[in-house]
């Protein structure tokens, strides 16, 4: 397909629109409704700008804005600061900007539902994150992508450390360390190496860092002269992006980052941030080195012989997707369980790309949106459960389907999509991944390459089964168990190796569960007798169920009085001036109390799915839309633009599409 490059301001506008929104968000800190209005407006504008470029990009036009053309100056000598909307960039930008629209509604509902502190900072950082994520998508060379990659790490840090307690601070430190090690050390080192390689290969001292579909030509020439350096650059770049893609052993920041509010875990730590890593890996394979490079310059390993460069990466990814799924089995905390699921699913993408077969690449690219829709649904549901019932642990969710029928139904669909059940998004991408592995094995050249590809295919299937194994218990306990009659969850409640005594549903166990503890010794779930236990009480001021709360509160008058006052203060403050954030910090203790959940005394209240009474529309609407997206991608992938876009990308790299 011929490519026409058109100079256009829209890639820049798409990046800047939410950066400008940051200013307005901060400026309107006194008026929460106006502030959230800016978020939504920026999200809509961003999506509109990105979508307006879609028809052109599908027809082979590339929109480009360049700092050098605009000002006559390079960013640093020999390297331009340029943004360009090509098919691969569009895939990521379209996805991130589309999902942001709904996340901004959801975030408003979530943050208000929990009466969170520092909301202005939260929304400002969120908008900035989207700005940088689209910057990563549209970056047209390694330096530009590096700039936005670093900025993304920076602006998401306030979101991770949002809670301002020691757990959040430690998670924030870990987050900064990992992401800057990835960006500032690995990625920068790789970029500089590529700069040096291309500038010495050009013979004129001019370097090329500009992405080219199918690989940078000068780099291929340089690699022929100095394969060792090119290989080092390859691995440095992969490692740099691999950190954000949470490929083991660089994954542990992701689970810790789950202390962030759920909209962050959802859009950023399941879509924008982590996918920027996977996206970067795609850029490295497709547009920096090209698909031929890894096999053309294999590593010669003693004993084993020649190993193509992609195989070690693929092995790590295959290991990650299996290991992370197994770890997820034992996570009782729902968000952490989902985080390990994300770790596993991201490695699908990395694995698909590393198999180098066009069909595998197509599957990997398609898995970017497929996983995004599924995982965002799951996180949104987890967040809605947290806001409405303060339940975070799977072991406390028995019978929660009664309380949140719509949410849990959406969760079920999302979980099925994760597991790759047909008619859902996850199936389509996994299908192509498996075909890719099998077709790759057919054309394998190196000794053990085919064997490895079959092993990868097997690991994909095993991981699919594990997906069901760790997500089904959530659905099962929500719908098919009740708060007073439920089984123990031996896999994640008991110590590894099993409990020494027998277990089963004991008389009064359910009561015990509620009154004392969820059977876990987790120290965050102390102080279990406060009325905060009561889900409906915490609905104030947005939840519909404050009436029901008073019954439960009556049983515990002293605590209830205390808490009511607290809540009232909070409500007043909330309405009067949300800007006054100092007060919010005093309430840190109060927030900590939110960390325990489970069914209230007397069991879950039954809410009808038809009345939409289980939560606010601000949260239910996004859940519904996103899960519909996951279904649409699964049933009619041909009509949901992403498949075609992914095929265009593959066609750009290999010369012809696979469909």
């Amino acid at each position: 397909m011929s490519e026409t490059v058109v100079t256009d301001l829209r890639p820049l506008a798409a990046v800047l629109v939410s950066a400008i929104a940051v200013v307005f968000i901060v400026a309107s800190y006194r008026y929460p409704n106006v502030r959230e209005g800016w978020s939504v407006l920026a999200a809509l504008a961003k999506f509109a700008i990105v979508a307006s470029m879609l028809p052109g990009v599908m027809n082979g036009t590339v929109y480009k804005w360049s700092f050098a053309e605009a000002t006559g100056l390079d960013f640093v000598a020999g390297v331009d600061f340029a943004l360009r909307a090509d098919p691969l960039g569009m895939l990521f930008a379209l996805l991130a900007s589309f999902l942001w629209i709904f996340t901004s509604f959801y975030a408003a509902g979530y943050m208000r539902g929990l009466d969170e502190h520092a909301q202005t900072r939260f929304f400002a950082a969120f908008a900035a994150s989207l700005s940088t994520a689209v910057g990563i998508a549209f970056a047209s060379n390694l330096v530009t992508i590096f700039i936005f990659y670093e900025l993304l790490s920076l602006v998401t840090y306030p979101l991770v450390a949002h809670n301002e307690d020691s757990e959040a601070r430690i998670a924030g430190r870990k987050y900064l360390t990992y992401t800057f090690f990835g960006g500032g050390v690995f990625l920068l080192a790789g970029t500089v190496l590529v700069y040096w390689l291309t500038s010495s290969a050009s013979g004129t001292d001019t370097a090329t860092l500009e992405f080219q579909a199918g690989g940078i030509e000068l780099l291929t020439e340089a690699a022929a002269a100095d394969p060792a350096i090119a290989q080092a650059a390859f691995y440095l770049l992969i490692a740099g992006f691999g950190v954000k893609a949470a490929v083991m052993p660089l994954h542990s920041w992701l689970a810790d980052a789950m202390v962030a509010p759920t909209p962050v875990s959802g859009l950023l730590h399941a879509v924008a941030v982590v996918k920027s890593g996977a996206f970067g890996v795609a850029r490295v394979y497709l547009d920096v080195f090209g698909l031929e490079f890894p096999t053309a310059y294999p590593l010669s390993v003693p004993v084993v012989g020649d190993v193509p460069l992609n195989i070690p990466v693929a092995i790590l990814a295959a290991f990650t997707l299996t290991a992370a799924s197994i770890i997820a089995l034992r996570k009782d905390h729902l968000k952490r369980r989902l985080a390990y699921s994300t770790t596993a699913q991201l490695s699908y993408i990395v694995l698909g790309l590393s198999m180098l077969h066009p069909i595998g690449v197509l599957g990997a690219l398609l898995h970017i949106p497929a996983h995004a829709f599924g995982k965002l649904t799951l996180f949104f549901c987890a967040g809605a459960i947290h806001v409405e019932t303060h339940t975070d642990y799977v072991s406390e969710m028995a019978g929660i389907g009664k309380r949140m029928p719509l949410t849990m139904s959406a969760f079920t669909l999302g979980a099925a999509s994760m597991a790759g059940i047909p008619l859902l998004a996850g199936f389509v991408s996994k299908f192509y991944l498996l075909i890719g592995a099998a077709s790759g094995a057919e054309v394998a050249v190196y000794g053990l390459e085919a064997t490895w590809l079959w092993i990868f295919a097997a690991s994909l299937i095993v991981s699919g089964v594990l997906n069901i194994a760790y997500l089904w218990p959530v659905v099962y306990t929500a719908f098919f168990e009740s708060e007073d009659r439920h089984d123990a969850k031996p896999v994640f409640e008991f110590p590894a190796g099993g409990e020494r005594k027998s277990y089963g549903v004991l008389e009064g166990e359910a009561d015990h569960d509620i009154a004392s503890d969820g059977g876990s010794d987790d120290s965050t779930r102390k102080d279990r007798y406060a009325v905060n236990e009561n889900p409906s009480d915490a609905d104030v001021p947005f939840g519909p169920g404050s009436g029901a709360g008073s019954t439960a509160a009556g049983e515990n008058p002293v605590a209830a009085d205390h808490d009511d006052t607290d809540q009232d203060d909070h409500t007043d403050e909330h309405h009067d001036s949300e800007a006054n954030e100092h007060h919010e910090t005093d309430d840190e203790e109060h927030h900590d109390d939110h960390h325990h959940g489970g069914a209230p005394l007397g069991g879950w209240e039954r809410r009808s799915p038809l009345t939409f009474a289980e939560s606010t529309w601000l949260m239910l609407m996004p859940i519904t839309v996103i899960v519909t997206g996951a279904v649409t991608l699964g049933i009619v992938p041909d009509y949901a633009v992403f498949l075609e876009l992914a095929d265009t990308i593959v066609a750009g790299v290999t010369g012809e599409g696979v469909l």
Binding site: A77, V143, E150, A161, G184, V185, L188, V192, W196, S200
Partner: protein, 519 residues
């Protein structure tokens, strides 16, 4: 002699002469120092800007565009030259610009008194002289003037620590200058000349014993400047000096004194000795690179464990200058450009950071890392500017900090000096270690939570007392102070887009240094 050729001399002589005015007027009027200094620095800044338009407006090699003033009309190599070439003009811009900016702080933030402003002008004059001089002995003279100015300003801090710090700096600094002078002596023995350009022509022709003398001279000069630039392990004067100097003095010293010394080192390495000489002297380049690389690691490590913010930033300077010195030693064009950009960028960022520290000490009463808790909520503008500057210091793009780091990294890779390249890439993490610590305190640690735990510890108590006394003296945070910090922060980001422009401006000098592109 055209009028523009008078400018280099005026830039040096005017502040030194006017340094006497505050004292003289002080006999009659109490508060004239600031006004006189303001008028002088505005004049100096305007003069430098005009000089810059002439130097950068010209086309040709570094020597052709340079504005040269021969003092007293005695021609080189006998007479002393003042040279404004593409490099020294840029440093002069930094000196005069920073000197002007810091005045915005000292007007209300102190220190006060006419003698302070005399010292201020003396220091600025000395720095400009050090920047412009084209004579190695004359450089020693200005080194001493700068030293005297700094000792005086540091000792004007309250309390005995300031006196001790000044004395320590005086002793170590004088030793450094003396070692340099010994080097100059050897160089004079070897070549019979003191003029830099003359030396540059002579040094490559040296043979036998004269070559040995020149090598000895090189060793003395490098060690002398390693002290002045505060390279580990010769840095010990610097943290004390930065920490105990008055808040209005630290930005000036931190941003300019070490920077101009590091500039002078570059001038000696690349103009006087030349890359050829360093490359042919056994282990010279390796030693320079090692000193720099070790300073990077040692400085950052020491910075991480500090409790006092000024001291932390002082150790940060040790590490950042380590980066610059290591880049000198790489002997590639790109690394040299990177070092020079980082020199200017670091000066700018540190000036802004130390002014911010001063503002916070006045307005929030905080001096230790712990006491910075909750700053973002209480003082959003100064905390925000400080955060931007700290992030720029880490080298996160787009910022001036990144530009310098990028060129140095490319230079290290071009030189195929993998160890240095590793240190440079890791320096991001090392810098992040202390920067993140401060950011976390400012933004994600509620003040109340921390104070409850630390209420009766000495650190917070000290900080509160400090703030208290400040209020008693009538010191307050003015709009001007805030404006200057915000301006510097914005400039640090804005210059992040000027990497190519810097390269173009410095190119004539770098080409004159005659480095092989990839040795």
């Amino acid at each position: 002699m055209s009028s523009v050729e008078l400018l280099p001399a005026l830039l040096v002589v005017v502040p030194i002469l006017l340094a006497t005015v505050p004292i003289a007027l002080g006999l009659r009027y109490d508060r004239t120092g600031w006004s006189v200094t303001l008028a002088t620095t505005v004049g100096l800044f305007a003069g430098t800007v005009y000089l810059a338009t002439v130097v950068y407006g010209g086309s040709g090699t570094n020597q052709e565009v340079a504005v040269i003033h021969e003092l007293g009309g005695f021609t080189a190599p006998m007479g002393i030259e003042l040279v404004a070439d593409t490099l020294s003009t840029m440093i002069a811009l930094l000196v005069t610009g920073t000197a002007l900016g810091v005045l915005a702080f000292t007007r209300v933030g102190g220190p006060r008194g006419n003698t302070f402003y005399s010292g201020y002008l003396l220091l600025v004059g000395g720095l400009l002289g050090l920047t412009m001089t084209g004579d190695v002995f004359n450089m020693f003279v200005f080194l001493e003037i700068v030293g005297l100015g700094s000792y005086a300003l540091i000792s004007s801090g309250r309390g005995p620590e300031a006196a001790v710090a000044a004395l320590k700096y005086l002793i170590i600094g004088t030793v450094g200058a003396s070692i340099y002078l010994i080097g100059v002596g050897f160089l004079f023995m070897a070549t019979g000349s003191l003029n830099m350009l003359d030396l540059a022509a002579t040094v490559p022709t040296l043979e036998g014993q004269n070559l040995q003398l020149a090598r000895a001279a090189f060793a003395f000069i490098f060690v002398g400047f390693a002290i002045k630039v505060a390279q580990w392990p010769l840095h010990s004067w610097q943290p004390d000096a930065y920490q105990h100097a008055p808040d209005g003095v630290t930005p000036l010293i931190a941003a300019l004194v070490s920077t101009v010394s590091a500039y002078a080192l570059a001038r000696l390495l690349f103009t006087v000795f030349g890359a050829e000489f360093i490359a042919s002297t056994p282990y010279a380049s390796e030693i320079i690179v090692t000193v720099g690389a070790v300073s990077v690691v040692a400085g950052s490590t020491l910075a991480v464990i500090q409790t006092d913010v000024k001291r932390m930033l002082a150790y940060s300077s040790v590490s950042q200058f380590g980066l610059i010195v290591a880049a000198y030693g790489l002997l590639t064009e790109t690394a040299l450009v990177g070092a020079l950009i980082h020199l200017i960028g670091h000066g700018l960022m540190k000036a802004g950071l130390f002014i911010a520290v001063g503002i916070i000490a006045i307005g929030y009463g905080a001096r230790t890392v712990d006491a910075y808790a909750g700053l973002a909520g209480e003082r959003p503008f100064v905390a925000g500017s400080m955060a931007v500057l700290l992030i720029a210091l880490v080298g996160i793009p787009p910022s001036i900090g990144f530009i310098g780091k990028w060129y140095i990294a490319v230079g290290a890779i071009e030189a195929q000096s993998w160890l240095v390249a590793g240190v440079i890439f890791l320096s991001t993490m090392l810098t992040l270690a202390y920067v993140a610590r401060l950011l976390e305190r400012m933004y994600f640690t509620p003040a109340s939570a921390l104070e409850a735990g630390h209420e009766d510890t000495a650190t917070v108590g000290h900080a509160v007392t400090d703030g208290g006394t400040a209020t008693v003296r009538g010191t307050r945070v003015t709009i001007g102070m805030l404006a200057i910090v915000i301006f510097v922060a914005a400039l640090a980001v804005f210059l992040g887009f000027a990497g190519d422009a810097f390269f173009a401006l410095l190119e004539p000098f770098v080409e004159s240094a005659d480095l092989e592109v990839s040795p």
